[in-house]
C-alpha cells in the first residue's frame, strides 16, 4: 500500500515547467554540479509548447526537434525529468505541493525556478459576446489537436476564421491548412503587422460569435466601420498572451504590473529569496530560443545562490511609459552587471526615441534607427545602468515616436 500522506522530499533545485526555459536551466545547472536538479512537467511529455509547433523557426530546427534536443540535453547533464507531475501549490517559502500518479509529495528545494510558460487569452477573457458554441479554439488547442492527436478537417471543421495580428495568427492558418481546413479570413485587429496569409481583414474586430451548438459565423466590423457575418464553423483566437503566473502568484511572488509575470532582476531573481523565474512566464511569448537563453541565464544566479551569495535587495524598479508596453527584466542593480532589456512597444514605431530617466535626471536618450513592431521585442543593453542612483526612485523607460 502506498503512502496516504504526502511524501516529504528535498532537492537542490526544483524547476517547475519542462519547456525550453526550464529544460535549459536544468541542463546548465546539472552540468555545473548543482546537485539534485529536478524538473516537474505536468504534461505527459517534456518539451513545452515547441512539441506541437510542427514548423521550423526554432534556431534552425522544427519545434518538436528543438523540444527533443532540449530534453536530451537536460537528461544527459544529469537533471531528473519527471513528466505527468504537477506543482499545485506551496507548502512553504521554498517548498511545493506536488500531485503525481505515484502520490502526493511536498518537495523542498534550496532554489526554485519557475518556468511555467504562457498562454493565449481565450475568447471569454476577451469579452467577445455572442453564443457559446463548439468550434472556438486557441492556437495552443488547435496545434495540439492537429500535431499531437492527428485531427483533420472532418474533426476540426470545414471553414475557419483566425483572429489576431501577431505571427502566431500565421501559424494558426498554416496549422489549419495542414489539417485540410480552409481559412475564410484572418481578422487582424491591428491595421498593420507581419505578413499574414490572406484574405486578411486589417483593422477589423470581432463583434459577436453566432451559432447554436456549433459555431455558424463570426460577426465582424471592418476598418471601414461596416459589419458583416463571416460564415465558418471554427474560430481560432490567437495571441494576446498571458503569463501562466498562477503558481507564482499563489506563492506570493510579486508580479510586475506591466508584464503580469513575476518581477525579476537581471539574474531573473524574483522578490522571494530562492525563487527564480524564466521564459514566457516573465511576460508572455518570445521565441523559443529566447526562452531557452533565459533558462541558461538563470542558472548563473541560481548557482551563486546555492554557493551562499546573499539575496540582493530589490534594487531599482524599471517603469514603462509612452508607447513602451513592457520590458524585462523589470528591476536593476546599478552596481551589478548591466542587463540586456527586452522592450516591447504598444504600437508600430518608426525610428522611435528611447529615453531613460530617474527622478529628474535623464540617464539616456537616443533615436533608435529601427522599425519597432508590437509583435517583436527590441534587445537593448542597459548601458546606462551604472549611472542610475541606487538610492533614487524608479527608473522610467519611455518610447516615443
Amino acid at each position: 500500500m502506498k503512502s496516504v500522506h504526502p511524501v516529504e522530499r528535498t532537492v537542490d533545485v526544483l524547476v517547475v515547467g519542462g519547456g525550453p526555459a526550464g529544460l535549459a536551466a536544468a541542463a546548465r545547472l546539472a552540468a555545473a554540479g548543482a546537485g539534485r536538479v529536478e524538473v516537474l512537467e505536468r504534461e505527459r511529455a517534456a518539451g513545452g509548447v515547441p512539441r506541437h509547433c510542427a514548423r521550423g523557426g526554432f534556431g534552425g530546427l522544427t519545434g518538436p526537434a528543438f523540444a527533443r534536443r532540449a530534453v536530451r540535453a537536460a537528461v544527459r547533464a544529469g537533471a531528473v525529468l519527471r513528466t505527468g507531475v504537477s506543482a499545485t501549490g506551496w507548502a512553504g517559502p521554498l517548498a511545493l505541493e506536488v500531485t503525481a500518479p505515484t502520490g502526493l509529495e511536498r518537495i523542498t528545494a534550496r532554489a526554485v525556478v519557475l518556468a511555467t510558460g504562457a498562454r493565449e487569452r481565450p475568447r471569454s477573457a476577451r469579452l467577445v459576446p455572442g453564443s457559446r458554441p463548439a468550434g472556438v479554439l486557441s492556437t495552443g488547442e488547435l496545434q495540439q489537436s492537429v500535431e499531437l492527436f492527428g485531427l483533420r478537417r472532418e474533426r476540426i471543421g470545414r471553414r475557419a476564421v483566425v483572429v489576431g495580428s501577431d505571427p502566431i495568427a500565421r501559424h494558426a492558418v498554416r496549422t489549419l491548412r495542414r489539417a485540410g481546413v480552409p481559412v475564410a479570413a484572418v481578422v487582424a485587429d491591428r491595421p498593420y503587422g507581419p505578413r499574414l496569409p490572406g484574405p486578411v481583414l486589417r483593422g477589423a474586430t470581432v463583434l459577436e460569435l453566432v451559432g447554436r451548438g456549433r459555431l455558424s459565423g463570426v460577426l465582424v466590423r471592418g476598418a471601414d466601420g461596416r459589419t458583416g457575418l463571416l460564415r465558418c464553423d471554427t474560430v481560432v483566437f490567437t495571441g494576446d498572451w498571458l503569463p501562466d503566473h498562477e503558481l507564482a502568484r499563489s506563492g506570493g511572488v510579486p508580479l510586475d504590473p506591466a508584464t503580469r509575470g513575476p518581477s525579476v532582476d537581471g539574474g531573473l531573481r524574483t522578490l522571494v529569496p530562492g525563487v527564480f523565474a524564466a521564459g514566457n512566464l516573465l511576460r508572455g511569448v518570445e521565441p523559443g530560443t529566447v526562452a531557452a537563453a533565459e533558462g541558461r541565464a538563470v542558472a548563473d544566479a541560481v548557482l551563486a545562490h546555492l554557493a551562499g551569495a546573499p539575496w540582493p535587495a530589490p534594487g531599482l524598479t524599471l517603469e514603462t511609459a509612452g508607447a513602451l508596453r513592457r520590458l524585462t527584466p523589470g528591476r536593476l542593480h546599478p552596481a551589478g552587471p548591466a542587463p540586456t532589456l527586452l522592450l516591447r512597444p504598444e504600437v508600430r514605431l518608426v525610428r522611435p526615441i528611447l529615453m531613460v530617466r530617474q527622478d529628474a535626471r535623464l540617464l539616456y536618450e537616443r533615436r533608435l534607427p529601427v522599425l519597432l513592431e508590437p509583435h517583436r521585442s527590441l534587445r537593448h543593453p542597459a548601458v546606462w545602468a551604472p549611472d542610475a542612483d541606487a538610492a533614487g526612485g524608479p527608473v522610467v523607460v519611455t518610447l516615443t515616436p
Partner: protein
C-alpha cells in the same frame, strides 16, 4: 432503469406497458419531480428534448441557494423556496453536492436603498426568516474590505448559500435513474393525444409514441407551448435574460458573502457572489425578450456588468474573466409560480419557475407528486431511493488531486488533465462511465469542470476531447 439517447422508445402499446407517469422536461425541476416519483413503485419516464439533462435554464443561473427571505409573503413560491432551500441543503450534505453557507449582504449604496433595508427585514420576518441584521457602513467594510467606496450600510441575511447548479440536477437524475426511472434524451414531445376515460395519453416524438397515464409538464420556458398541446392557454412564458460574468479564482479572496443589490425603482441591480468552484460571479442582467433561444451575451450587457461590478468591487476588474454566459428565466407576468393540476386530464403543469427553481426544486418535486396523487395517481407505499454520492466539484471540500489515499488506490486520480481546474483522469473517466454520462464536451465540463478554467482549453482542450471521444466510443 435506463438512459436512452437514440433509437425507438420502448414499446408501450400493451396496456400494462404504459408508463404511470411521464415528466416532460429534464431541467432541475423535472429531474426533481422524477426523483420524488421514484420513491414509489411506479413506471416513470423522464423525457427531454436535448441530449443531456439540465441544458435549459438550469445550466445557466446564479447558483444561489436562497432562503426565500425576499419572496412575496404568502405566495406558493415563498413556501416552496423556504422548504426547498432546507431540503436541498440537507440533500447536498447527504449526496456531496457542494454548498457553502456564506450568507448574503444586501448593500445599500444610497439613502433610498438604506431606507429600504428595514422593510426588507420585515419582509424576511413575514417569510419566516428571523436572522437578518442591519450592518453599519463600518461593520460592512470590516466584513467586506474590498467593497468599493460609498456603501452606506447593509442588511445581513445569514443562511443564503452558494451551490453547484450542475451537480444538483445531475444528482436528482442519477438517483431517479438508479431507482428505476427511464430517462429518454433527444426526445422532444411534439404532440400529445390525450387518452379518453382511463386510456393512456399518447406522447408523439420523433423516436416514436410513448403512452403514459399521468403527465407532468416541466418544460421551463416552453411550459406554455406544452400546455397548448393539451389545449390549455393559462399563461404565456416570456424569457427574461440574465447575462453573467465569471471571474478567475484569484478574485475569490475579494469577496466573502453574496453581495445582493437592494431592489429599487431603478431595477434590481446585479449581485457579486463567490461560486463553489472558487470563482466570482457578477450578474445577472434582466432583459425582457421574446426569443426563447436568445442565450447569447451582448456587448452592452457585458459592458454594463463590468461597470456595475467595478463600483461594487473595484479590484474585480483587474482579474481575468473565465466565462461569460446568459440564461433565460421563465417570466409569466405573475409574481409567483404557475403550478396547476388538471385532474380531468391527469396532467400537472409546473410552469413559471422563474428565478428560484434551483432552490425550490426538491419542494417542487414533493408538491407536484402531491398534486398527482390528488389527481388520482395511486402512489402506493414509499421505498428508499438508491443512494448517490456525487463527485465533488467544490473548492471548499477535498478534491481528488489532493487526496493521497485515493491516489494510492488509483493513480488516475493523481494524473491531472485539466490543470486550471485540477481535474484528474480519474474524474473524467468516472464521468464518462456514470449513470447519466455526458453527451458533449460541455456536458463533461458541467460534470467535472474540465476546460472550465482560465485557459479554456489552451493547455488541455485537445487531451480532454480525445479522452471524451475515446470514452464515448
Amino acid at each position: 432503469m435506463s438512459v436512452t439517447r437514440t433509437g425507438a422508445l420502448p414499446d408501450t402499446s400493451a396496456p400494462d406497458d404504459a408508463y404511470d407517469v411521464t415528466v416532460v422536461g429534464a431541467g432541475v425541476v423535472g429531474c426533481a419531480i422524477a426523483r420524488e416519483l421514484a420513491r414509489h413503485s411506479l413506471r416513470v419516464a423522464l423525457m427531454e428534448a436535448n441530449g443531456d439533462i439540465g441544458e435549459g435554464s438550469s445550466k445557466a443561473n446564479t447558483a444561489i441557494l436562497h432562503t426565500g427571505f425576499d419572496a412575496v409573503p404568502g405566495s406558493l413560491e415563498a413556501r416552496l423556496v423556504r422548504e426547498g432551500g432546507q431540503l436541498l441543503a440537507a440533500y447536498a450534505e447527504e449526496t456531496g453536492i457542494p454548498v457553502e453557507p456564506v450568507g448574503a449582504l444586501l448593500v445599500a449604496w444610497d439613502e433610498q436603498q438604506l431606507a429600504t433595508l428595514p422593510r426588507l427585514a420585515d419582509k424576511a420576518v413575514r417569510n419566516g426568516h428571523h436572522g437578518t441584521r442591519p450592518l453599519s457602513a463600518a461593520e460592512l467594510y470590516a466584513r467586506e474590505p474590498h467593497l468599493g467606496p460609498g456603501a452606506l450600510g447593509a442588511l445581513e441575511v445569514p443562511g443564503e448559500s452558494i451551490v453547484c447548479p450542475w451537480t444538483t440536477p445531475l444528482a436528482y437524475a442519477t438517483q431517479a435513474v438508479r431507482s428505476g426511472v427511464d430517462l429518454h434524451l433527444n426526445c422532444p414531445v411534439e404532440k400529445v393525444r390525450p387518452g379518453e376515460g382511463d386510456a393512456p395519453h399518447r406522447l408523439v416524438t420523433r423516436r416514436g409514441v410513448l403512452r403514459t397515464r399521468f403527465l407532468v409538464n416541466a418544460c421551463g420556458l416552453y411550459a406554455d407551448a406544452f400546455d397548448a398541446l393539451l389545449g390549455r392557454e393559462d399563461f404565456t412564458v416570456a424569457p427574461r435574460r440574465g447575462q453573467l460574468l465569471v471571474f478567475d479564482k484569484f478574485a475569490r479572496p475579494l469577496v466573502r458573502h453574496i453581495l445582493l443589490p437592494v431592489p429599487g425603482p431603478l431595477g434590481k441591480g446585479v449581485l457579486v457572489a463567490p461560486t463553489v468552484y472558487g470563482n466570482v460571479l457578477l450578474g445577472p442582467t434582466a432583459e425582457d425578450l421574446t426569443d426563447k433561444t436568445a442565450t447569447s451575451s451582448t456587448a452592452e450587457g457585458l459592458a454594463g456588468l463590468r461597470a456595475q461590478g467595478g463600483r461594487i468591487l473595484p479590484a474585480l476588474l483587474d482579474e481575468e474573466v473565465t466565462a461569460a454566459y446568459a440564461g433565460l428565466r421563465a417570466a409569466t407576468g405573475a409574481e409567483d409560480y404557475r403550478i396547476a393540476a388538471h385532474p380531468e386530464l391527469r396532467y400537472v403543469t409546473v410552469g413559471g419557475i422563474r428565478s428560484t427553481g434551483l432552490t425550490a426544486s426538491l419542494a417542487l418535486g414533493r408538491h407536484t407528486v402531491g398534486l398527482l396523487a390528488d389527481a388520482g395517481l395511486e402512489l402506493g407505499p414509499e421505498r428508499p431511493l438508491a443512494p448517490v454520492r456525487m463527485p465533488n466539484l467544490g473548492e471548499a471540500f477535498p478534491r481528488p488531486y489532493r487526496d493521497a489515499g485515493l491516489i494510492a488506490r488509483d493513480p488516475a486520480y493523481g494524473t491531472l488533465v485539466c490543470h486550471c481546474e485540477r481535474v484528474t483522469l480519474g474524474e473524467i473517466r468516472d464521468a464518462l462511465a456514470s449513470t447519466v454520462p455526458p453527451a458533449s464536451l460541455d456536458g463533461l465540463r458541467r460534470r467535472t469542470r474540465a476546460r472550465a478554467g482560465r485557459c479554456q482549453g489552451f493547455s488541455c482542450g485537445a487531451t480532454v476531447r480525445a479522452l471524451f471521444e475515446e470514452g464515448v466510443r
